[in-house]
């Protein structure tokens, strides 16, 4: 079971969180004309990376905040966690 540092609550066990997928996906702006391809790639296309991955988790059974987690999908190593609005360099 992973041990994830919630930026608000501290180190917590994975079973308090739910996984939210790739955090680098940006939703197209509302009312913006975009191609079918762009929309499809937002809705469906995700990279299945082996290695370092920026992903979303929600601290569901805690503060209910969505957070960003830098995790290695192969080793499960967690490098860093960020608040949703934090700039990640």
């Amino acid at each position: 079971m992973l041990h994830i540092k919630c930026p608000y609550c501290g180190m917590r066990s994975q079973n308090e969180f739910s996984y939210g997928g790739d955090a680098s996906v940006k939703r197209p702006e509302l009312n913006k004309e975009i191609s079918d391809q762009e929309w499809d790639s937002f809705v469906y296309n995700r990279k299945s990376l082996r290695g370092k991955h920026l992903e979303l988790w929600q601290h569901l059974s805690g503060c209910r905040q969505w957070i960003k987690v830098e995790r290695d999908t192969a080793t499960h190593e967690i490098f860093n966690t960020h608040k949703a609005d934090e700039e990640i360099s």
Partner: protein
């Protein structure tokens, strides 16, 4: 009292407490502190089972977790448990056990015929033989294999025992209480670190209990006892025996199984049988020791052939002789220790040492004691069927290829020692890439992967002094990092005997003309020739060889066989062992009972049960409940001998003619506040929300980004910046997360807060033509007329002094209201409704009637919004705004979603107006068409229409828009039904929706 193999004195057992037990129906006696194995051996019982494949006689091979043979069926307190290792099961008064894998009895086993057919049962036998004919698999082969295989019988009874889970955190988790575990624990504890020290056996001390050493002028055992006593007194230390750390998972989480009550005749009241610990440790010290390796020779599975370390443990811990005429066969000095213990107890062993001329302190001691030693000698084969009665021995050439003349000597047991295999399972599970250590012919942990440190024998270090030094240092350094304390511990004086180098020899060649079976894996009957066949047939990867031959599988997971198997493969393949590699070590290290894994989450405890505040009223009024997610909801209220069908019809009819009341507390409720609340709703729902006035409710549909309907419900504007959203019972949690996702990540600029208020409000739906009259009685001070409270209107009021919210919304399609009060007042509200509704013939109705009412109205619910439908499919496309953007809108243009013959909701009525239509059935054009018959749609929900008094269903049908009036067939192969039906509008009752507005 015939414990003929029990010594007069010695051992750590309690000779004052005699225990009786039964094995295969016969009564024996042992002592408190015995294992089932030690007590049986004390009674001279060496035949305890039959082997897996050939049904050869099985005795005892080890004295602990590595045991491959002595697997028994245990009976305790009227329950039975399979696959118990006799070497681990502690004796208790009244214990009963039976042999497994033998029929009709362990002494006369018909399956043993396999032994003489062994030529037919080589590696991969099952794969090769049971392939054809295909039809034989289910009828002949599988039942045969199932009967022949298996080690025990699982109980089919409900397990009454309690199992618990516990979560724990610590600075240092130390797995194993041998010398390295004790030393590291002691040093770390002195530095104030929080420690859990786990020992899988009942007694602490590991090898110190059986080895002849001296630490700080104490015997090893006394030193261990004094350290444990001191640790137990320290508040920062948890010391646990009977506790096996069996799994090392991500981020330094380890799982330990504590056998709390298995050693007792009966679990004490309020105690669990077992407890599973989930331990998150900052540092992990693996001090799991090592397991002795067998030597391989002919018939080396005969009862009486066992590990020399086990023989020593039976002697020193249990005061039991495994034989009175022992032969010790060794390739290293460990065998000598066992022989010396025999000699000290008046037994004369013979040592066969495969080495040419070894020199060491221990060997000298054995010589001085007058023990007979034969160097360059090996056991060629054990003789005897149910027990060893002699051994064929021979001199072996220096290159270990040629055997001299074979001679036979009498013996009643053969104690083998093929050197030691470090127990590296936990380190390997943590992700540690192991490395091969040439000097000890075994794998040891490499660079740490997580925060694990492997110590002592588990790390391939077999001298006590070095082990203690390393372990004190590790305990000190690791705890210092955490606590910043630096208590120096003076290193005790260690006295131990120096060993000489072991012999790399491990497998005795077959003598000319003999075809003895030489076993590698004792639990699965895998012999040297099986591995040879597998390699001849082209298997190369050790993982494949394992699966083809079953080497290293089953309950012992090859604890005694893996390395010998690897050595054999590497020898045949002419590779070095590290090039062959080892199979993956996966948790659990040793079998864990399913009960322990499940814990308390059994039956009703497997998920929480949520009850509405009116639950007790429902119970008192004969409600029959149904699970709705985690909620318990009344399905119907039984009157007299009514069936579900009769009761739900009555309840639904009463709503259509009088007035009914339904508990709708379970609906999801979300409180939405903030200046941008309307904007959020406008983006989340498909319809327009910016102009909803205060005091009005609106129905809305929300989509996922892929255009599929996610949920529906009404949202009411309570005040300028305050909304009350309702969701379906099932989607409540998902909708909240969905809103939080968009507010926190996508549109953080929106100033809105959302919070679940599902449990804060109790809800009652009051529905039926007489509902307004009832409402007038409930709220005499409010104008609830069609003008004062129109359809989709909202009022705040008080119900006889209790704050209440009144929504004029309808799921039943009748004139209806929903009243919410704070949860604590739910029962008060409900009783008022029932009482004041008497004159209008009010009746409570359950979910079954609720479904009937919504189905005949064509209102959609979860069975239509099933994660595959878009608004068009469910006739909700009128709610989709053309003007504004919202979540999922862009997806609605997808080609499949706008195709002309897109599926759509329709109504379905059987032509005979009598036959009920099973939910989930398929709609087809031609009932007699050849299979596969093309499916046009499926039945999503069925009811008995109380308005029309005939069956009615909703269906999602291809080109549903143009199918009204068509005649089709409903097919349910599951129920073997073919029903001719007519397609009608999904709005079967009040198609214009006049009643809700009346």
């Amino acid at each position: 009292m015939t414990q003929a193999f029990r010594l007069e004195n010695g051992g750590l057992i309690n000779r004052d407490k005699k225990l009786s037990f039964k094995f295969n129906g016969k009564t024996y006696y042992g002592y408190e502190g015995d294992t089932l194995a030690s007590a049986l051996i004390a009674n001279g019982v060496h035949l305890v089972g039959r082997s897996f494949k050939y049904h050869r006689p099985r005795g005892f091979f080890g004295a602990g977790v590595d045991e491959p043979y002595a697997i028994v069926q245990l009976y305790r307190n009227n329950e039975t448990e399979p696959n118990i290792k006799a070497t681990e099961q502690e004796l208790f008064e009244g214990l009963e056990a039976k042999s497994v894998n033998c029929w009709p009895s362990v002494n006369f086993d018909i399956g043993a015929i396999n032994n003489f057919l062994k030529i037919f049962l080589p590696a991969g036998f099952y794969y090769k033989t049971f392939m054809w004919p295909k039809s034989f698999w289910y009828r002949v082969y599988e039942p045969f294999i199932r009967k022949a295989a298996g080690l025990g019988v699982a109980s089919t009874k409900h397990d009454k025992e309690r199992y618990e889970h516990k979560y724990e955190y610590c600075d240092l988790l130390i797995a194993g209480s041998g010398p390295s575990g004790l030393a590291s624990a002691y040093a770390a504890a002195k530095n104030g670190a929080r420690i859990i020290l786990a020992e899988d056996k009942p007694r602490f001390g590991g090898s110190l209990l059986t080895s002849d050493v001296n630490i700080g002028n104490q015997s090893g055992e006394d030193w261990a006892n004094s350290i444990i006593a001191e640790l137990k007194e320290m508040p920062n230390v948890v010391v646990k025996n009977r506790s096996q750390v069996f799994g090392y998972y991500d981020h330094n989480m380890l799982v330990m199984s504590e056998k709390v009550s298995d050693h007792l005749p009966k679990t004490k009241k309020y105690h669990p049988k077992q407890r599973l610990w989930y331990i998150r440790a900052k540092e992990v010290l693996i001090s799991s020791g090592s397991i002795e390796r067998p030597l391989v020779f002919g018939n080396n599975d005969t009862p009486g052939v066992m590990l020399s370390s086990a023989a020593k443990e039976y002697l020193k811990v249990y005061g039991v002789l495994v034989g009175k005429n022992p032969l010790v066969f060794t390739n290293n000095d460990s065998g000598y220790e066992t022989a010396i213990e025999f000699k000290k107890n008046g037994i004369n062993p013979i040592i066969l040492d495969s080495r040419v001329n070894p020199q060491s302190e221990i060997i000298n001691e054995a010589i001085n004691l007058g023990i007979k030693i034969k160097f360059s000698y090996v056991v060629v084969a054990a003789q005897g069927y149910k027990k060893v009665n002699s051994a064929d021995i021979a001199k072996i050439s220096d290159n270990k290829k040629q055997l001299g003349t074979v001679e036979n000597i009498k013996c009643d047991c053969i104690c083998v020692s093929g050197f030691w295999t470090p127990t590296i399972h936990l380190a390997s599970q943590s992700g540690n890439k192991t490395k091969f250590k040439e000097e000890i012919d075994a794998f040891v942990p490499g660079t740490s992967k997580q925060n694990e440190t492997t110590l002592g024998a588990a790390n391939g270090i077999f001298t006590l002094e070095e082990t203690l030094k390393d372990s004190f240092t590790a305990g000190q350094d690791l705890s210092k990092k955490i606590t910043n304390n630096d208590n120096k511990i003076s290193f005790p004086n260690v006295v131990e005997k120096k060993s000489s180098q072991h012999d790399k020899f491990w497998c005795v060649p077959l003598p000319e003309g003999k075809n003895y079976k030489r076993f590698l894996d004792f639990q699965n009957d895998v012999s040297v020739s099986d591995i040879e066949i597998a390699l001849k047939e082209g298997y190369r990867s050790i993982e494949h060889v394992k699966r083809y031959t079953t080497l290293g599988m089953a309950t012992d997971q090859g604890k005694t066989s893996n390395l010998n198997g690897l050595q054999l493969v590497s020898e045949i393949e002419n590779k070095v062992v590290p090039a062959v590699g080892h199979t993956t070590f996966r948790p659990p290290y040793t079998p864990i009972s399913i009960g322990a894994i499940v814990g308390r989450e059994v039956g009703k405890h497997s998920k929480p049960t949520r009850k509405s505040p009116m639950h007790s009223w429902h119970e008192k009024n004969n409600a029959i409940f149904v699970d709705a997610g985690v909620w318990l909801r009344p399905r119907y209220y039984k009157q007299g001998n009514e069936t579900l069908f009769e009761a739900s019809k009555r309840e639904a009819k009463n709503v259509r003619t009088n007035v009914g009341v339904c508990d709708v507390t379970t609906l999801g409720k979300i409180d939405i506040k903030g200046p941008d609340a309307a904007e959020l709703l406008n983006r989340v729902y498909t319809n327009a929300w910016l102009k909803l006035p205060v005091g009005k409710a609106r129905y809305g549909v929300m989509l996922r980004e892929d255009g599929i309907v996610m949920d529906d419900g009404t949202t009411t504007r309570i005040s300028e910046n305050h909304y009350h959203m309702t969701t379906t019972t099932a989607q409540a949690a998902n909708v909240l997360s969905h809103l939080e996702y968009y507010l926190q990540l996508v549109w953080p600029e929106l100033n809105v807060n959302v919070v679940s208020t599902t449990e804060q409000w109790a809800g009652a739906a009051i529905a039926g033509p007489k509902s307004r009259k009832l409402l007038e009685k409930l709220f005499p001070n409010n104008d609830v007329s069609n003008e004062g409270l129109p359809f989709m209107g909202y009022l705040e009021s008080d119900l006889f002094g209790v704050k209440a919210r009144i929504f004029r919304i309808s799921f039943s399609g009748e004139l209806a209201y929903e009243v919410n009060v704070e949860s604590d007042n739910g029962n008060f509200m409900w009783e008022k409704i029932i009482k004041l509704g008497q004159e209008f013939q009010v009746q409570p109705y359950g979910t079954e009637a609720l479904s009937t009412l919504r189905i005949e109205m064509g209102h959609v619910a979860g069975s239509e919004l099933d994660g595959r439908t878009i608004p068009y499919d469910t006739s909700l496309d009128g709610l989709v705004s053309k003007k504004k953007d919202f979540i999922g809108k862009r997806s609605l243009n997808r080609e499949a979603f706008i195709s002309e013959d897109r599926q759509k909701i329709v109504g379905v009525v059987p032509l005979d107006k009598k036959t009920s239509i099973p939910e989930g059935s398929h709609l087809v054009k031609d009932a007699k068409a050849p299979l596969p018959n093309k499916k046009l749609g499926h039945i999503s929900a069925s009811c008995w229409s109380v308005e029309h008094d005939n069956p009615f269903s909703l269906a999602i049908l291809k080109d549903g828009k143009n199918m009204i009036g068509e005649k089709l067939f409903v097919m349910s192969p599951l129920k073997n039904k073919v029903i001719p039906v007519e397609i009608v509008s999904s709005h079967y009752v009040d198609p214009k929706g006049e009643r809700v507005r009346s």
